[in-house]
Symmetry: D2
Subunit: 100 residues, 4 copies
């Protein structure tokens, strides 16, 4: 499983207020049924990488559909295949280190 | 105020288990007194940019102090100066769009 | 057209020497026939976004095929649709500003 | 030595034409005397990390000085301390793998 962060930012639009575009992307995430976490700096997705790629491709298109002419999208993939790899597991691993 | 995401990743170390290094960085965040949020893909900091830069510089050094020879650090700054700009405000703006 | 930067980094492998993995990814880029530029911090691709997505998906798989268990991939898309948008055009726009 | 990529992007300004802001940042790079490479997706800097941090801090301020109200800055640091680490060395390592 992969954990993937994505943010889609229209450039030259919105006078700096971009929440409308973020909400449009988030709607697609909700419809996908994938596990996700919204953070102040992007949306984190969890799932099979091919499903995530299909969703990411749609999310990038969303600001164009809402009127943007230029979109900057940043995607960071953390893909680990030798053990369980989820958002929850990543958080727990760090917390366990802090307790020790 | 700026909202800044940072992740520090040692390369060629740890056989893929990096939580020890993340915990070392997080300890510095806690000591800084800045507002922060730990996410599965990095730590989000909130505050004055000069304070954040000083902390980021220390965080990047932390994996070297723990034995790493190479560190990849990714920093994304979202700095807005025409209105209040916090993690909480960014989240609320998106949520308000979703309700409508 | 989109201009996209990608870097694929195996974690916990190679004791910090990652050029073998980069070369494997680059081989896929060459075979794709897309315009590209290799830089010290990643590979920049230019072309239709769907073609680029298909290539990016393959590139991310390449370090796993070479033995990696965990791969961190960073992708930055700059997609502009209201005028010609190429690597060469982006560079020329900046250079024209410098001359003035 | 560290190799660092930076891009500073004003949000909500310029109707998508950002080369003026890029040129302002690049002017600071030239004045710094550091080795650098301009690419279609950002500027790559090479040097001592403290010098680079000071320059990055100035570059992030540059679009505000040119009228922007919100700036998104992305910084990726690749810092290696067990051998020579330069832009030229990184490129050569990949090219040697391709020849074999």
């Amino acid at each position: 499983m992969a954990v993937v962060q994505i943010s889609c930012t229209p450039l030259g639009e919105g006078s700096g207020g971009l929440s409308k575009f973020v909400a449009g992307c988030l709607q697609l995430v909700k419809e996908s049924g994938l596990n996700y976490q919204l953070t102040p700096m992007g949306t984190i997705l969890e799932g099979e990488l091919d499903e995530i790629f299909a969703l990411v491709r749609k999310m990038h298109e969303s600001p164009f559909n809402a009127g943007a002419h230029r979109v900057s999208t940043l995607i960071k993939i953390d893909d680990r295949r030798d053990r369980e790899h989820t958002m929850e597991r990543k958080m727990r691993s760090v917390e366990e280190q802090l307790v020790e």
